[in-house]
Structures are given as structure tokens and as C-alpha cells.
Amino acid sequence: MDINDSVEGAKFRTEVREFVAANLPADIKRKVDGGLRLEKDDYVRWQRVLFDKGWIAPGWPTEFGGTGWEPLQRHIFEEECALGSAPAVISFGVNMVAPVIIEFGNDAQKEKYLPRILSSEDWWCQGYSEPGSGSDLASLQCKAVRDGDDYIVTGQKTWTTLAQYADMIFCLVRTDNSGKKQQGISFLLIDMKSPGITVRPIRTFDGSAEINEVHLEDVRVPVENLVGEEHMGWTYAKFLLGHERVGIAQVARSKKQMQRLKMIANTELVDGEPLLSQPEFAAKIADVEIGLIALEMTELRILSDESAGKAPGPESSILKIRGTEIQQGITELLIEAIGYDAHPWVPAAAIDGRNEPPIGSDYAASIAPHYFNWRKASIYGGSNEIQKNIIAKMVLGL
């Protein structure tokens, strides 16, 4: 055993680090470091940099444009991108719909969509949740009825992250109502410009507008946009949920936030002493930091098993639960750290290049909204309650 990077691993780490340092646009880095709002263009510019380098889709098979990296190598890549202040690659295309297309799609679909995902020409969003079906995803009602060479899709999707930017949506739709609710679901790729689609923003209580309702009214979707077999969509959805383990824990991004927290706690003063030197606060930081170390090591153990050929299993629910708890824990300590400076609500401060001077310290404005916004982390993407159900049933056999 060896906990250190291998010689090749260390070389690769340096390569990624230097690449990010040299190629990440300075304005994007500034926004990420300052917790400012990223626009669509920011994401796309960075994704195109990765695309040009051939690093946009490490998880794909090499024949479609993947890198052929081992899981641990991918881990290094993710870590160095995050530590270098690169924005996250938006998952919906590269890491969500693409693996489904690669595994279950036909050749035409692969030829049509994969290159456009690689090049960020298409922005994808995810049409899973509906108003009536939150944690109980399989109870979805959005209906697709066959009509000639088309499906006619009617229904509503919700919590659709960044749908306002999207060119395409992958949807779970109900094509049959007769059997168990998990049966009769199909997996459709839908052009967001199709007539009958309306996107309505849902404002969240932190003040941001990153999620949406997507209304579909008699939307015509060519049958060629069906992935795999009709009624088999639940299988593909489950494949997707269990597929992705690299990065789910968000260890590197939490490390980065932890650095920021410590910097801020070292700047804030309590009766002239840094807050960081107050034993009670230092203890809380240490608890989260120790949890983060445990999370990273757990992720490495799982990735190491994966490198050794062990199939992805439900243990990744651990990564989701602890990953979000730690992210939320850091936002909680951040808001604690700044005291009254968390009170002013200054939406303009989230925008890069603002003219007004900050209220309080220059890092303060984004901290409370970030704390509020991040409550979503334990709700979206399979709530932590659902993750615990999965562990109880799939791992513990209860």
C-alpha cells in the first residue's frame, strides 16, 4: 500500500495543475475565488478549454472522446481543477445524459449528440422531477403518447437546474400506465426549442434563479429521440444514478472552501484575537476538516476498489450524504464567522465588477446567500433521506 501519488500520478498532477494555471481565464478564476455568480458563458469558455485539450469527458470510453484515465487519475484531475479555481463542468451533458447514450443509445444518437456535448455546443438539462414526484421519482406523470413517428409529450417537470440555458432536455416520461409505476417509463431526448415548451424560473429563497419549471404541452418529439427501448427508461435512470462516483463527494471543492473559511476566521477578530484562535470555533472547524479527511479517504478506498475492477455499489450514498453534510457544515461556519456582516442583503455584490464598495468585509456579501442556497444540497439529487434508505436496504439488507 502507498498513500502517496505514484511517480506517474505525481507527474500527471503537475501537468493538470500547470495546465489549469495557464489556461483558466483570469476573470473566471476571480469569480470562483470570490464566490461570485458565474454566467453561462463562463462555464462554456472553460469547458471549451478542456475540450480543446481533450479533457472534457474523462469518464467516457476513449473511442467517444474519453481520456482512458483510471479512477484515481480522474480523482487527481478533479482535485487539481478545483484547487486551481476552475468552475465545475456542468454535469447534465457530459456526466449524465452522455453515459446513458453511450450505454443504451443507438449509433445515430451517438453520432449526433456526443460531439455536441464534447464541444459544449449543446447545453443539457435534466427532466426527472415533477411537482407530484419528489423523492418518489417513479411516480412521475409526464405523458408521452405515440403518434406516427412522434411522441406527443404533455406534462410538467420541475427543479430543472439551469434550464434557462438549455438546448436539450433528457426526460423521463410515462409511456404506459398499466403496470407497476417503475414500468412504462421511457427516456426521451427533447429539443428545448420545440413548440409547446415553456420554461418558468423558480426563485429560491436565497434570491437566486437557477432552477425552473419546464412545462410541456403537446410537444412533438421524434421517435428517433427515444433512448433504448420504450418503457425501459427506469433501468436507464437507475444506471445513471449509480454510475458516477468520481467527484460526487466534492472533496476538492470543499477543501477549497475550507481554505477560505480558515482565511476568513483568521481575519475576523474577537476582542482583537483572530476568531480562528478561539478554541470553540477552532474545534468546530477541526471537526469539519477531520470529516473531510475521512470523506476523501473513503472516496479513495472506493475508487481504489473500482480501479481493481469492483463494480460501483450503493456505498456511494455515503459520499453523497457526508459530502453534502460537509459542504453545508462549511457554509454554516462561514456565516457564523462573519457575525453581523452576514445581515446585509446586497444582491449586486454577487456580480463581478460591481462599483459599490462592500458593506463590511469584501468577502461577506455572498456568504449568507450561499448558506441559504446550499440547503438544497441535501435535498436535490436524491435527498439524504433517500440515500439512507438505500444504505439500509441495499447495503445492510434491512
Binding site: 419528489g134 420541475t158 429563497f205 470553540e280 453581523y340 458593506i359 440547503r375
Partner: protein, 375 residues
């Protein structure tokens, strides 16, 4: 020992509960929240007419001579409705400062204006870098002729823009965190040399950064100084802290009720999610936290007249527990509402934000735990 409300107190409770339920719905509240003032002047007048502004003020100054219990009853109801009107700041905090610290001239002038709704007060006590230390005062008051000249910065002064009077803590002498050398000044909020930067807070309230630049006040503006000033400030902030604890209890109660209601109506996997035992136990824990918070807010109110060490200990015990309980109840309420809990449309998130802001107001949980343990 007697923990029962008097008949008069029960009447106030019934009245304010009815008002919040019937006349202060979430949609109505929004009108005040988006207005320039941040609340509705007519509601403030209504408070005056109903006798609430004077409920806990002395009869000699136009009040009804009530106690901290009246304040608690009103604040809990206001918390339940996320009421925006600056009762806490003007009546409770401003009133306590004046009652404890002011000259009779000041009392006779200002308190009747407060209880009748003619004027409001804001208290500028926090400064950049002061965190929760009330003695951390960098603003200076220099003798200048018959009066004083004030210079300094105050931060997050709640409801300064809508107040006719400002009370400011300033330093006549001593180092920045000395307990001595502090003075309190009462001055018109539009005094020359005052610059404000107004903003909304995370929870739809209003506050300002205030710069005092060569603000001239006459000698009568000084209403407390020497060794007495800080104890007056501490007492008033304790009174306000007990009141905001009741505010939090009201918000917790509303959150718990709406979450309970959601659990009973929202269906997943073919049944109301309230049938899931995990959520039942977590709701039970929320309920216990709320009851503990209610007990502590009551106890803090009842101990406000005790000698300073006992008063401080009771207030800090309450605030420490309530900061923690408010965070947990808020987080659980959002979590149990799922995606709906994240929306701006539902009130859940707004209660969550309010409880978060209350968490650090007048000192966060760690600050008060430490103050409690040190006494």
C-alpha cells in the same frame, strides 16, 4: 412561583394572535417588505391604537405599565407572522435605554412619542470589527463648547432610516474596549453630519451603515456616561435579547406547524410522508426544541428584573439554546419540505432566514454560551 398569564395578558395575547393570523398573511406582509420604509406606517399606527406600543411602557409616559411578559407575548406573535414593523428596535430596545438611562427630560419628551406611535428610535451600537462586544466602541465624543462632537462609524443599525431619534454609544475616553469612558447620546436622526447607507437585510428587515462626521450635539443630548453607561447598554440589550428570543419562538412555532401540515398532506410512495417514522421522530425532536425555546424565552423575560449577574446568565442561557434550536428547526423545516422548501414563494425559507439572522443578533450561540459559563 406563578407562571399563569393575567387576564389582561391573555387579552393581549388573543388580540395580537388574531391580528397576525387575520391581518398579516404572508402575501399582505409582502406589501411592507417591498416598500421604501420596509414596513407599513398604517400598521404601526394600528399598533399604537391597539395599545401595543405602550403595553410595556410606564403609565406616566403614556404606556400601560406592563412587564416583560407583555413584550414576550407581543414578540412571540410578531415572530409567528414575521412582522416587519420595528417594535423590537423602537419600543423594546429604545424604550429600555430611555427608561434605564435617560434624564427625565428625555423620558418626558420621547417616551410618549414612542407609545403613541409619533416617533421611533434606533440604537447604533455595533461598529465595524466590534463583533458582539458592546464595549468595543471606537466612535468618539469630544467636548466642544457646551456640547459634544461625534465622530465614528456604526454598522448594521436596524431601522435607522425610519427612526426620528438615534441613540448612539460613543467614547468620551479610554481605550477601544474599556468598560469605562462610554457615553450614550440621543439625537435627531437627521442631525447634520450623519450619513446613512440604507439596505435591506437577508430577512426583509432594514438596516443602515451610519457615518458620524463632526456631528454637533448639545450637552443635553448626553444621557448617560461614566461607569453607568455600559450597564445601561447591557441591560437594554438583554431586554431586547429576551424579546428576540420570544420572536424566535413564534417563528419556530409557525415553522413547526407548517411543516407538520406539509407532512400530513404531501404524499410520496403512496402515503402522507408524515407516516414515515423517521420524519415523525424528527418532528418530535423539533417539537421538543420549540418547547425548550419557549421555556427559555419565558425564563429570560421573568429574570430581567433580577440582579445583573442572574439576569445576564438567564438571558445568555436562553439565547444560546435558541440560536441552536432555531438553526436546527429551520434546517429541518426546509429539509422536510424538500424542493418546495427552497422556493421563494413559500414562507418556509423566509422563516429560515429570519431564524438565521436572529441566531447572531445581540450575540450568537457561542458568544452567549461563553458569557453564561463565565458568570
Amino acid at each position: 412561583m406563578d407562571l399563569r398569564l393575567s387576564q389582561e395578558q391573555e387579552m393581549i395575547r388573543d388580540g395580537v394572535t388574531r391580528f397576525v393570523r387575520d391581518d398579516y398573511e404572508f402575501a399582505t406582509r409582502r406589501i411592507g417588505a417591498v416598500s421604501d420604509l420596509g414596513f407599513r406606517e398604517e400598521v404601526w399606527q394600528q399598533f399604537a391604537d391597539l395599545g401595543w406600543l405602550g403595553a410595556a411602557l410606564p403609565e406616566e409616559y403614556g404606556g400601560f405599565g406592563g412587564s416583560a411578559i407583555e413584550t414576550m407575548i407581543l414578540m412571540e406573535a410578531f415572530g409567528r407572522g414575521l412582522v416587519l414593523e420595528p417594535y423590537l428596535w423602537s419600543v423594546v430596545l429604545g424604550g429600555a435605554l430611555l427608561q434605564q438611562g435617560a434624564t427625565s427630560a428625555h423620558k418626558e419628551q420621547v417616551l410618549p412619542e414612542i407609545s403613541s406611535g409619533k416617533a421611533r428610535i434606533a440604537f447604533a451600537f455595533a461598529e465595524p470589527g466590534s463583533r458582539f462586544n458592546l464595549a468595543h466602541i471606537g466612535m468618539t465624543a469630544k467636548k466642544d463648547g457646551d456640547g459634544y462632537r461625534l465622530n465614528g462609524n456604526k454598522t448594521v443599525v436596524y431601522y435607522a432610516a425610519s427612526a426620528e431619534y438615534l441613540i448612539g454609544s460613543a467614547r468620551l475616553g479610554g481605550a477601544k474596549t474599556d468598560r469605562e469612558g462610554i457615553a450614550l447620546f440621543l439625537l435627531p436622526s437627521d442631525a447634520k453630519g450623519i450619513t446613512r447607507r440604507d439596505y435591506a437585510t437577508q430577512d426583509d428587515q432594514r438596516a443602515s451603515e451610519i457615518i458620524f462626521k463632526d456631528v454637533q450635539v448639545d450637552a443635553a443630548a448626553l444621557f448617560k456616561c461614566g461607569d453607568d453607561a455600559l450597564p445601561v447598554i447591557e441591560n437594554a440589550i438583554d431586554v431586547a435579547t429576551a424579546a428576540i428570543c420570544a420572536d424566535a419562538v413564534g417563528a419556530m412555532g409557525a415553522l413547526r406547524e407548517m411543516t407538520l401540515e406539509y407532512l400530513k398532506t404531501r404524499k410520496q410512495f403512496g402515503r402522507a410522508i408524515g407516516e414515515f417514522q423517521v420524519l415523525q421522530h424528527r418532528m418530535a425532536e423539533m417539537f421538543i426544541l420549540e418547547e425548550e425555546a419557549r421555556s427559555m424565552a419565558l425564563r429570560a423575560a421573568l429574570m430581567l428584573d433580577a440582579p445583573a449577574p442572574a439576569r445576564k446568565k438567564a438571558v445568555s442561557a436562553a439565547k444560546s439554546l435558541i440560536a441552536r434550536a432555531g438553526r436546527q428547526i429551520g434546517q429541518e423545516a426546509v429539509q422536510m419540505h424538500g424542493g418546495m422548501g427552497m422556493t421563494h414563494e413559500l414562507s418556509v425559507g423566509h422563516y429560515f432566514k429570519r431564524l438565521t439572522m436572529i441566531g447572531s443578533m445581540f450575540g450568537d450561540g457561542d458568544f452567549h454560551r461563553k458569557r453564561f459559563a463565565a458568570l
